[in-house]
């Protein structure tokens, strides 16, 4: 095991991308201008479900300034992040399946002309029944199918069985079963999608700058849609203004820009309006869930039964993966010896749901943490005691074969309970004031690629020379979460230099070496492994040279503070630069390359040793944990819930940059507080979104910001590079149930549907009074 003594890791250094962003100098895709650049706009469907009878764009083409128009027929190849279920097209072919789906796209010399041209495109529709509710959609599947080849209007359904839950429930002293519903929410990242494509007809090369978090998967999808080999395509990320999963797959803007560029021979940029961000969505799946938990007489969880209907919207997207994540997430952070999940992901005529921060975890976590709160009450013990009793420990292996190499979850629970005064406050405050406790966890990466391949998930190339110093190459995506800074810190740590000395070349599929992308909270861990390996190769070579220069043996050397030292005679030391200089003068540029391949873990039922369908999803090299105690003030006359304080404690392993971790944690809490209390996309009966703008879609403002007390608990995962885990998605998990449990503590009503609006609170209070 390596030591925990770090000099570059563990410091709250200034973010590499910080100053440019603060000064407004960062270049986002929409800031880029190229010679002869044209502007693309997408014509969107005014029906949620209809056959396209005809598209007439002759008038649009005739408008001066219009360069090209494309429709679905220009690019019929289907794309999708999950190749087995890929069913999206760039622009609708024959049929539209949600209100706002693209039906045609225009390139023109400026945006105004492009917009004007859209109005000149005439689309003839034959309306079909609009299915907005997943249960109705399944029921009416005999009459109307959203996708012809998807019977029952269901993308996929799954059943997983581990152990014998029925028998286990029969022996339980306390059993509780309830229904829960989570709402239809969007990420509301700051920067709308933007794509700038440049197809060069001379050499047949395509370059795409895009606001995206998975350059590799985008690269693959472009190759499919454009019918071009990947080696003719280069994807580059300029500064990205947030993704939260919403940019975790390609977007029609990417394909339209690329197709229009190929058609016009000019660079074409397509930037979405906020309205388009909403109507193309890919946000969190609304889940209609039923969960049942059974405890023995001592309060130990014996079984969990989970049923989930995911409202997926019009296309597949990340759907199947999200669906199996919701099943996987019932196995942690508590010990569950028997479990069953029955899940289905249903098509509806809504903007498609996809990946959103804490994907697949937020929904079942809400159900589970609320049920445990109620079960604790049934038992007459505190929720804290019940959760501590069932919490997993380092080395735990779930019945589904999830392996937790290290956890400080209990420490998280303990810390929040102490810091918040939970035990002194819970159940003891005046009516209207409450405190709620909840915990959660998330993966730090995945075990598999989305397409079948066992290649390493990340490769890092480190280059050292006298000109550039240290350069780290990796096509990871810094979408604002700060991975460039963290990668520089980790590389500097091993190389014995300062993080400021490290240049990071990322977000470029040509200059950067392979990386799967920023999702599943994977980048710190994955790049950490690869960086360590690459940097060690560099050190090995430099140690030889330094040893010669210092007249000692290489294995007696260490490197820190930009110097090589003899561990036995620290007086024998030499500057790092001098050694690099000698090496480059004699051999040339130094490189080291490292790879990361996750441990392959099978999703099996350990009691029977049998493979379980879909259960490979959810495995991770390690997991991050978070616990939160949230305090609320409920105005019992108006029903308004105000979150007054959030106490959080998280296990993110070794924090590489504690300031960034704090940012992730506080951001996670606000992000999810919105879903708990305010945010929801509303569709009218025809499937048209009624609040597709940030004035009517209610993201919490700074006025809703509660007091926050967050703690990074002392943690170090000995199996992880630098001891790291994740911090961007674990802290998302406990917020909703902690708020719901707090509201219960305040007014004695359990809310099982989101968001918890003043209206629902008031209604529930009235019903309670009536009783």
């Amino acid at each position: 095991m390596e030591g925990k003594k770090f000099s570059q890791v563990g410091r709250s250094v200034t973010r590499i991308d910080g100053p440019a962003k603060v000064k407004g100098e960062a270049i986002y895709t929409d800031d880029m201008v190229m010679a002869r650049m044209a502007h693309g706009k997408i014509k969107r469907s005014t029906y949620a479900h209809a056959f396209i009878k005809n598209i007439d764009y002759s008038k649009a083409l005739a408008l001066p300034g219009v360069l090209a128009v494309i429709t679905g027929e220009d690019a019929p190849n289907k794309w999708g992040i999950v190749p087995q279920t890929a069913n999206e097209v760039t622009l609708a072919v024959d049929k539209v399946r949600f209100h706002g789906e693209g039906v045609a796209a225009v390139a023109a010399i400026d945006e105004e002309t492009a917009e004007e041209a859209l109005d000149l495109i005439e689309v003839e529709y034959e309306p079909l029944p609009v299915l907005l509710d997943p249960f109705e959609s399944m029921k009416r599947a005999g009459e109307i199918l959203i996708h012809e080849n998807e019977p029952d209007n269901v993308l996929h359904q799954g059943e997983q069985l581990f152990g014998d839950p029925d028998q286990a429930f029969a022996g339980c002293k306390y059993v509780l079963e309830k229904k829960f519903y989570t709402s239809y929410v969007n990420h509301a990242f700051l920067e709308p999608h933007s794509s700038l494509a440049h197809y060069d007809p001379q050499n047949g090369q395509l370059q795409l700058w895009s606001s995206n978090q998975v350059p590799h998967y985008l690269h693959r999808q472009l190759s499919i849609v454009m019918d071009m080999p990947m080696n003719k395509i280069r994807v580059i990320l300029p500064a990205v203004g947030g993704g939260f999963g919403g940019k975790g797959e390609a977007s029609s803007s990417d394909f339209c820009a690329a197709l229009l560029s190929r058609k016009t021979g000019r660079p074409v940029r397509v930037t979405y309006d906020r309205n388009e961000v909403f109507v193309t969505n890919k946000g969190r799946h609304p889940c209609h869930m039923k969960m049942k938990i059974g405890l023995d007489q001592n309060g130990y969880i014996q079984a969990v039964d989970f049923d989930n209907t995911l409202d997926g919207g019009a296309y597949a997207g990340w759907g199947m993966v999200v669906m199996f994540y919701t099943t996987s997430m019932i196995h942690l952070p508590y010990k569950v010896p028997n479990a069953r999940a029955r899940v289905r992901r249903v098509y509806t005529n809504k903007p498609t749901c996809g990946a959103m921060r804490g994907l697949g975890g937020v929904q079942p976590r809400y159900a589970m943490e609320c049920l445990l709160d109620e079960l604790a009450e049934m038992m007459g013990v505190s929720a804290y005691e019940l959760k501590m009793k069932n919490a997993v420990e380092s080395g735990y292996r779930s019945v589904s074969n999830l392996h937790v190499p290290h956890t400080e979850y209990k420490k998280c629970l303990q810390t929040v309970v102490e810091n918040s005064g939970y035990l002194e406050k819970h159940g003891k405050q005046p009516f209207g004031k409450g405190i709620g406790l909840a915990g959660g966890y998330y993966i730090s990466g995945t075990a598999y690629t989305l397409y079948l391949s066992y290649k390493p998930h990340t490769t890092v190339l480190i280059r050292v020379d006298t000109e550039g110093g240290v350069t780290v190459h990796c096509a990871a995506a810094d979408i604002g979460q700060g991975c460039n800074t963290v990668m520089a810190q980790m590389a500097a740590e091993v190389l014995g230099v300062n993080y400021e000395d490290v240049h990071v070349v990322s977000g470029d599929t040509e200059l950067g070496t392979f990386d799967l992308g920023s999702f599943a909270s994977r980048v710190t861990y994955a790049s950490g492994v690869a960086i360590k390996e690459a940097a060690r190769q560099i050190n090995d070579k430099l140690f030889e040279v330094a040893a010669g220069m210092l007249s000692c043996r290489a294995e007696q050397l260490e490197v820190r503070d930009r110097r090589f030292y003899s561990v036995f005679e620290p007086k024998k030391n030499i500057e790092w630069e001098k050694v690099v200089d000698v090496y480059t003068n004699t051999v040339g540029t130094l490189t080291g390359i490292g790879h990361f391949s996750p441990p392959r873990l099978k999703g099996i039922d350990l009691t029977r040793g049998e493979r379980v369908q879909g259960a490979n999803i959810g495995h991770s090299p390690t997991f991050g944990f978070s616990a939160q105690a949230i305090e609320v003030d409920v105005d019992v006359e108006t029903g308004k819930v105000r979150v007054t304080k959030v106490t959080e404690a998280g296990d993110c392993g070794q924090a590489v940059n504690p300031m960034s971790v704090e940012g992730q944690v506080e951001g996670s809490i606000m992000f999810t507080l919105g879903q708990a209390l305010y945010e929801e996309m509303h569709l009218d009966k025809d499937g048209r979104m009624m609040n597709a703008c940030l004035h009517h879609y209610k993201v919490p403002t700074v006025m809703e910001l509660p007091e926050m007390d967050t703690t990074i608990v002392d943690s170090y995962d000995p199996t992880a590079p630098f001891g790291v885990k994740e911090s961007g998605e674990g802290p998302v998990q406990p917020t909703i149930p902690a708020i719901a449990n707090a509201v219960y503590d305040a007014i004695g009503v359990r809310f099982t549907e989101l968001p918890i609006t003043p209206e629902k609170v008031l209604k529930a209070l009235k019903e309670k009074q009536g009783k």
Binding site: E111, E112, E115, D273, E637, T638, G639, K640, L677, Y678, H682, M690, N691, H695, H696, K698, P700, T701, V702, M703, E704, T757, P758, E759, L762
Partner: protein
């Protein structure tokens, strides 16, 4: 999203403005802060051929208070100026409170009080307090000037009494009588950037005994097409020594008078409920404040 072409005029004086407004007639729209107008134009709900920007006209701006006479507020005065005015806070507290609640810091820096009233949204922040405070508006055109009580100026959902070529130029707020206090309150999902589900203002004058209601106005917003001036609440409370029982009754009466609708922000039932709670609170608050004047 893109604006159609329009001609842009930036007059420097009131007379120049009236001349332009008269000459351009229905082709023109007045541009104040633009926080309603430009949004409507971007969504193609309005397509004016000309804009008359009144931000350069000094006569339309600023707040003047003269003891004993009251306040005059120019129509193009920014909400942020009102929000930070000490006089407003001391003399017309309800309007001060409403100004603080409108939109966000950025919106308040652009938005004007005249724009808020001329836009005539049922949920507008400043109309309830202005009506409660007994405000009159001065309307002007090349043809001359007229004065109207504000409640007669706002005639419906996004409808005002403005005739073609007319501008709203100022608001006249009477000097508050002794032992008067005013209060404002609102409710929405969030505490900023919110369009009110319900808002409410009260202006209350007590008799010398410090308990009996002499004059009272309670005005509700967002529960009718235009600011709803309660008839029943003054009928119940004027001449009475105020107590919590009476306030409760008055609140129920207000809830009965409200004519809310259901929309994306709230259902009619919830709005009625909120009227009850808010009127009780705002009446109590105004009563406490009036006792301390």
């Amino acid at each position: 999203m893109y604006l159609d072409e329009f001609e842009y005029y930036a007059p420097k004086t009131a007379d120049e403005t009236f001349e332009l407004a008269g000459r351009l007639g229905s082709q023109a729209k007045v541009l104040a802060g633009g926080t309603d107008l430009i949004l409507n134009m971007k969504q193609s709900l309005l397509k004016p051929q000309c804009l008359i920007d009144i931000n350069g006209v000094k006569e339309f701006q600023g707040l003047i208070y003269e003891a004993g006479k009251g306040a005059v507020i120019g129509a193009a005065t920014k909400i942020s100026e009102l929000e930070h005015s000490a006089v407003l806070r001391d003399k017309y507290f309800a309007l001060h409170q409403a100004a603080r609640e409108l939109g966000s810091t950025q919106v308040r820096a652009m938005a004007t009080i005249g724009g808020n009233i001329c836009n005539a949204s049922p949920a507008a922040e400043t109309s309830s307090p202005l009506v409660a405070l007994g405000t009159k508006v001065v309307i002007n055109s090349a043809a001359g000037e007229r004065e109207l009580p504000l409640e007669d100026f706002i005639i419906g959902n996004r409808k005002t009494a403005l005739e073609q070529g007319e501008l709203l130029v100022k608001f006249l707020l009477p000097e508050p009588a002794p032992q008067t206090a005013s209060c404002y309150t609102n409710i929405g999902l969030r505490n900023a950037m919110e369009i009110d589900a319900v808002n409410m203002a009260v202006n209350l004058t007590l008799e010398a005994d410090n308990r009996t209601v002499k004059v009272l106005r309670l005005v509700m917003g967002s529960v009718a097409p235009r600011p709803l001036v309660s008839v029943e609440v003054p009928a119940l409370l004027v001449g009475q020594a105020l107590n919590s029982n009476l306030i409760e009754k008055a609140a129920a009466a207000a809830a009965g008078e409200a004519q809310p609708i259901s929309d994306i922000r709230a259902t009619a039932e919830y709005r009625r409920e909120a009227v009850f709670v808010l009127s009780r609170r705002v009446l109590q608050e105004a009563f406490n404040a009036a006792q301390e004047v």
